[in-house]
């Protein structure tokens, strides 16, 4: 029940809705008393042969009116209460999404996307049920229960009411007990189902091993056994499940039996009449649902509470990277200065970068080379403030990047990341991602700069071509170039290319680099790459090794140095040769 007080903020926010809904529930519980009463009166008059057509007409009219009114009210409270729960689910999803947009990469390292999705769907669904069905069953079982029992006791016979209710607590007990057993067995069934899921997943992933070793029979045996286990666990659920309704019907049957037997006795002793007995049994019918619901309530609330806790835990995580107090909103500009003594990822066991002291003048191009894991990407991610440096500082135009807002900082940076993530949208929308208001000529201009315009022209739908899961599949090189165009459209002072040319062939690459030189005069570019030719013409090149600068200079000076840079360069030349088929010419 604690979840109701946890959700109180929502109920208060929507108090009109909830108070109205609860009031209507009470009204409808009272109106529902009328038809059985009328039936009782008619039965009595039939028994005493006193019924007249006028009285019959009024009786029918009373039932008709209560039918129409309660239809309206039942519709209305559903709109109010269920409408509220749908609104709550919507609000929670909005909150979660908003929260997700504030979280830094660190958060996404720790959480699996599948789990985050599950919180936003299943958990929100369970909370919605608590705020809808949960509130309904709570209010309904209390109001209908009280109103009906009170009426039975007051207007018919309190003795008979007590007698008829004797088996009812057993029902609430049975429902909650079965509910609990069902829940336990159902969890086991779910676990078995997830086992078979995992197994099938593994089977499909390892299909080559299965085939190569002729393990089909064995896998079949495993699958059949696991599937059998799912069946068995579900049969054990079914065992309880099929007890459920019949148990209820026995208890209800006993209750009816007691009412009729003792009711008959009361009639004989003139303590009540046949019409009242009819009304009584009809009332008894109306009590079944609230009793059942009360049993269900515990299960709904238990699940809703657990889900609400999970969602709250998620919402309470504070973002690792946020604006510092007093941060300026002025977009920084000027030379970049790295001054990092040490940086370690929160989950890392050794420094990712150390002793990086580096100046990049405004308008320069910096080439960053080094093998995988040497720290190239980290250097860029720190500039973007995906992670914060504790041991050191990074300055742009003499201003620490920690003294401006995230928004201002990222406005001077255009980033084309390594994993070239594109959205399921049109090509134009993807290129204009950072500036959705961009005109088509602007989009075309950057597409030409990124050497992707010709490719786009070849698609039947041109810039309107849908890409991503539902659309055209692009090659790695095409994706990279779109990602570059997307970054170029930002028209930012500093461009970061994180190995974004790796899948582009040599000639296209030099076209892009030439276009960049031409169009980005006076603005800074950082290029991280495996391919040394890409940064041959850079103003300065650093060779990163194990998180620090191993060599530094221009292509010429590094070549002359005869160190790792030169070694890598020669090796790559030879590699090219092999790719081309080995002709030395």
């Amino acid at each position: 029940m604690r979840v109701f007080s946890d959700l109180m903020w929502f109920f208060q926010e929507h108090r009109k809705r909830y108070l109205g809904g609860i009031a209507l529930l009470i009204v409808v519980a009272v109106i529902a008393l009328i038809p059985p009463k009328v039936v009782g009166i008619v039965v009595n008059e039939l028994a005493h042969r006193t019924l007249t057509s006028t009285r019959l007409f009024y009786a029918l009219l009373a039932i008709f009116l209560s039918a129409v009114i309660s239809y309206g009210i039942r519709y209305l409270w559903r709109i109010l209460l269920y409408g509220g729960s749908i609104q709550l689910a919507t609000d929670l999803r909005t909150r979660l999404y908003q929260h997700f947009t504030l979280m830094s990469p660190q958060f996404y390292h720790q959480k699996r996307i599948g789990d985050l999705m599950a919180h936003s769907t299943n958990d929100v669904q369970a909370i919605q049920e608590t705020a809808g069905d949960g509130v309904l069953t709570l209010v309904d079982s209390i109001t209908t229960g009280t109103v009906v029992i009170a009426t039975m006791a007051a207007t018919i016979s309190w003795k008979l009411t007590l007698i008829a209710l004797v088996p009812m607590p057993l029902m609430a007990y049975a429902v909650s007990r079965y509910g609990k057993m069902l829940h336990q067995r159902f969890s086991l069934a779910q676990a078995a189902f997830s086992d078979i899921n995992d197994r099938v997943q593994e089977y499909v992933s390892g299909i080559r091993v299965v085939r190569a070793f002729g393990q089909e029979e064995w896998e079949r045996k495993n699958f059949v056994a696991l599937s059998r286990d799912v069946v068995d666990k579900n049969v054990s659920v079914a065992r309880i499940d099929s007890l459920f309704d019949p148990t209820i019907s026995v208890i209800v049957g006993v209750s009816y039996f007691l009412s009729i037997a003792f009711g008959a006795d009361f009639i004989v002793h003139h303590q009540m009449n046949i019409g009242q007995l009819t009304t009584f049994t009809l009332y008894l019918g109306e009590l079944i649902w609230p009793m059942l619901a009360f049993g269900f309530l515990f299960n709904i609330v238990e699940r809703g509470g657990a889900s609400y806790d999970r969602v709250q835990t998620l919402l309470n995580i504070t973002p690792e990277v946020q604006d510092r107090p007093g941060a300026s909103a002025t977009v920084p500009s000027g030379d970049i200065h790295y001054d990092i003594s040490v940086f370690q990822y929160p989950s890392g066991d050794r420094p990712a970068l150390h002793d990086i002291h580096l100046d990049i003048r405004q308008g320069e191009t910096l080439g960053i080379v080094g093998r995988t894991g040497s720290g190239k990407t980290t250097l860029m991610r720190l500039l973007l403030r995906e992670f914060d440096v504790s041991g050191g500082d990074i300055l742009i135009g003499g201003q620490s990047i920690y003294r401006v807002t995230l928004k201002a900082l990222r406005q001077c940076l255009a980033y084309a990341p390594q994993d070239d993530f594109l959205f399921s949208a049109t090509i134009a929308e993807n290129i204009a991602f950072a500036r959705p208001t961009a005109t088509l000529p602007e989009i075309q201009r950057v597409a030409r700069m990124a050497n992707i315009a010709d490719d786009i022209g070849k698609f039947p739908d041109g810039y309107q071509t849908l890409i991503g899961e539902r659309g055209t599949t692009l090659s790695g090189g095409q994706k990279q170039r779109i990602s570059i165009a997307r970054a170029l459209l930002q028209d930012a002072e500093i461009l970061l290319l994180d190995d974004t040319l790796s899948a582009v062939d040599g000639r296209t690459e030099s076209n892009i680099l030439a276009a960049l030189r031409q169009n980005r005069a006076g603005r800074t570019t950082l290029i991280a790459t495996h391919r040394l030719r890409t940064v041959e013409h850079a103003d300065q090149i650093i060779v990163l090794e194990d998180g620090t600068i191993a060599e530094w200079g221009t292509h010429e000076s590094l070549w002359a140095l005869g160190g790792r840079y030169r070694e890598m360069y020669q090796r790559q030349q030879l590699e090219n040769l092999v790719e081309k088929g080995g002709d030395r010419a």
Binding site: Y75, Y97, D198, G214, E219, G253, T278, R531, G582
Partner: protein
């Protein structure tokens, strides 16, 4: 094929799908019949209860005459009926549910068997998640349909019919009036289905849109943040979220209009009909209060089944979509190459011969062109070449993962097509690039399902490839648990376990798809020593990435764009100073710096 394409189902039509699904009940017709009989009994004892009360009211209560024997009979009879109903119901509910579960078990196994026969090409283009979902989630949705059809529809319709029969037995004229309820409820059901199924469909679609947006945003969050688009994306998500809310609200509104409140209303109208009938008759005839009581009771029971059927209609829809998807896989003609002929040729010596083999995955571009070579028994043939030169395709053909359509491959002079799967898998040992390990322990990963391999043979195989050292150092030795994809072991250790797995089969021919992954020097040495031992005395086809490991090969084939451009021994190829020579130089040159 994308996930969406898999979702697309060209119309077999729902009728055909449902019919085909129901045929899965045929093997169980006796059980179905038995359950139906019990269901009929349960319904009969159920609808008979109000009749006993009617007899009590009209025969004894109104005349105020209570003979003890009759009372005990009536009371005892009533309680007996209550208990019998409950007992029959427990039995039939359980029987129907178990039946549905058994049917699904069969369907699942049938589907799995079908998947086992599908070609690797099918696996290549079907995302893992989609296939897993077909085998588990979709069959689960079909289970819901069997539960719904069997448990809800059959039962509720039986109860409805039972109630009507009882009503006719009590008062045929009034029962005839009450028959009006049937078309009315049928009409409401149709109306409900008609108006809600587009809304329900829309809600599902909006939900998947919402999930897709959320999923994509979570994946691309770093891009969104780097480009400062959080605000806009929140807006977009908000719009979708709101859209979903509207559809959900609409759905709920329709439910509120057409489900319970409406049924409650109709119940009251029917109650009016009954009262009017008895009232009108009472002016001219004597009426039986007991009959009135029984009718009122039946009426209150009439709508529960209707309500529960209405609520299940949408599940039904969903199950149909799932079944169409499942049937699509069951009908997939793209099966893996099977043995041809009925002979049982055996592999003894292990002479492998490629004769002018060309191959294409998509029917357009050839990835292998006119490949011919022979590996004599015990020889090692190494295939080298850059990425995409066709090395792995050679292995795929030799393993008969794909059919050889042009040219032919023979083993010991017999065409590959004529061997049984069993013979091929036992005699050709494949060591894969990615040493895929299963969840389990070390022993189960070496033995796999080959129960004929004893524990000591497992240990022997491990010793042979010198994996025994590290295995015995593990906490539980040969029974050390292995996590998903072998995550608990290092890359090199995984390699060695997969070697042991191959050697436990003691194959005549060894196919090595050498790993590119770099491991520490010590493990690398262990791997090389193991490979050398494994190759000894076996025909070996080795795909090599490190030229240093194949210098002693009897024949080296250099593949370039699917063609053999150079062949010979290591010395011959070096003397030729061609592609092999360049590759060799490249690998000799810089071992320390790895440009990808």
């Amino acid at each position: 094929m994308s996930l969406e394409a898999m979702d697309f189902t060209p119309g077999m039509g729902q009728k055909g799908t449902l019919g085909r699904l129901l045929r899965y009940m045929l093997p169980y017709r006796k059980k179905v019949l038995a359950s139906l009989v019990i269901l009929l009994l349960a319904t009969a004892t159920d609808v008979f209860q109000p009749i006993l009360i009617k007899i009590f009211i009209d025969g004894y209560l109104i005349p105020r005459h209570f003979p003890q024997k009759a009372m005990i009979l009536l009371g005892g009879g009533y309680m007996l009926l209550v208990l019998l109903t409950a007992g029959f119901n427990v039995a039939q509910l359980l029987l129907f549910q178990v039946l549905a579960l058994d049917i699904i078990q069969n369907l699942r196994v049938e589907l799995f068997d079908k998947v086992q026969t599908l070609s690797l090409a099918f696996f290549d283009r079907t995302p893992v998640g989609v296939l897993v979902s077909r085998l588990t989630n979709d069959t689960e949705a079909i289970l819901q349909m069997f539960m719904t059809v069997l448990s809800t529809f059959v039962q509720n319709i039986t109860v409805l019919v039972g109630i009507l029969i009882a009503m006719f037995a009590l008062d045929a004229r009034l029962a005839a009036y009450c028959l009006v309820l049937m078309p009315v409820t049928a009409l409401i059901m149709m109306l409900y289905r008609k108006v809600t199924s587009p809304v329900f469909h829309m809600a599902r679609q909006r939900l998947s849109l919402l999930n897709a947006k959320l999923n994509e945003s979570l994946q691309g969050m770093s891009v969104i943040q780097a480009m400062r688009q959080e605000e806009r994306l929140r807006g977009e998500f908000g719009a979708i979220n709101n859209d979903y809310r509207r559809v959900r609200f609409r759905n709920m509104q329709l439910n509120a209009l057409l489900l319970r409140p409406l049924m409650d209303g109709i119940y009251l109208l029917a109650l009016m009909l009954i009262l009017w009938y008895f009232g009108e008759r009472s002016f001219s005839h004597l009426v039986n209060i007991g009959v009135l009581y029984a009718f009122v009771t039946y009426l209150s029971r009439f709508f529960e089944p209707v309500n529960s059927m209405l609520q299940r209609l949408n599940f039904f829809q969903q199950a149909m979509v799932s079944s169409e998807r499942v049937f699509q896989i069951l009908d997939n003609p793209d099966t893996a190459p099977q043995q041809e002929g009925t002979d049982h040729p055996a592999i003894h010596e292990g002479r492998v011969c490629f004769e002018d083999v060309s191959f294409s995955y998509d029917g357009r571009t050839d990835v292998l062109k006119h490949i011919s070579f022979t590996a004599m028994p015990g020889q090692t043939v190494a295939i080298v070449g850059h990425t995409g030169s066709g090395k792995s395709s050679t292995v795929n053909l030799l393993m008969r993962f794909y059919p050889v359509e042009r040219g032919r491959i023979t083993i010991d002079g017999t065409d590959l097509r004529y061997f049984s799967d069993h013979e091929l898998r036992r005699k050709i040992g494949l060591v894969l690039q990615d040493p895929f390990l299963f969840v389990g322990d070390v022993t189960s990963n070496i033995r796999l399902g080959n129960t004929f391999v004893s524990d000591s043979e497992v240990a022997g195989a491990a010793r042979f490839v010198q994996a025994d050292g590290f295995i015995e150092a593990l906490d539980q030795g040969y029974h050390a648990p292995i996590g998903e994809r072998g995550a608990t072991l290092s890359t090199g250790q995984r390699q060695l376990v997969s070697f042991a797995r191959t050697m436990a089969m003691n194959p005549a021919i060894l196919v090595l798809d050498e790993a590119t992954a770099s491991v520490d020097t010590e493990t690398e040495d262990a791997i090389q020593r193991a490979l050398e031992k494994m190759r000894h005395g076996r025909t070996t086809i080795a795909i090599a990435h490190r030229l240093s490991t194949i210098q002693d090969a009897d024949l080296i084939l250099v593949l370039h764009h699917g063609e053999i451009v150079e062949q010979g021994t290591h010395q011959q190829l070096l003397a030729h100073e061609g592609l092999y020579y360049n590759m060799f130089l490249l690998q000799q040159g810089s071992t320390g710096l790895g440009a990808n």
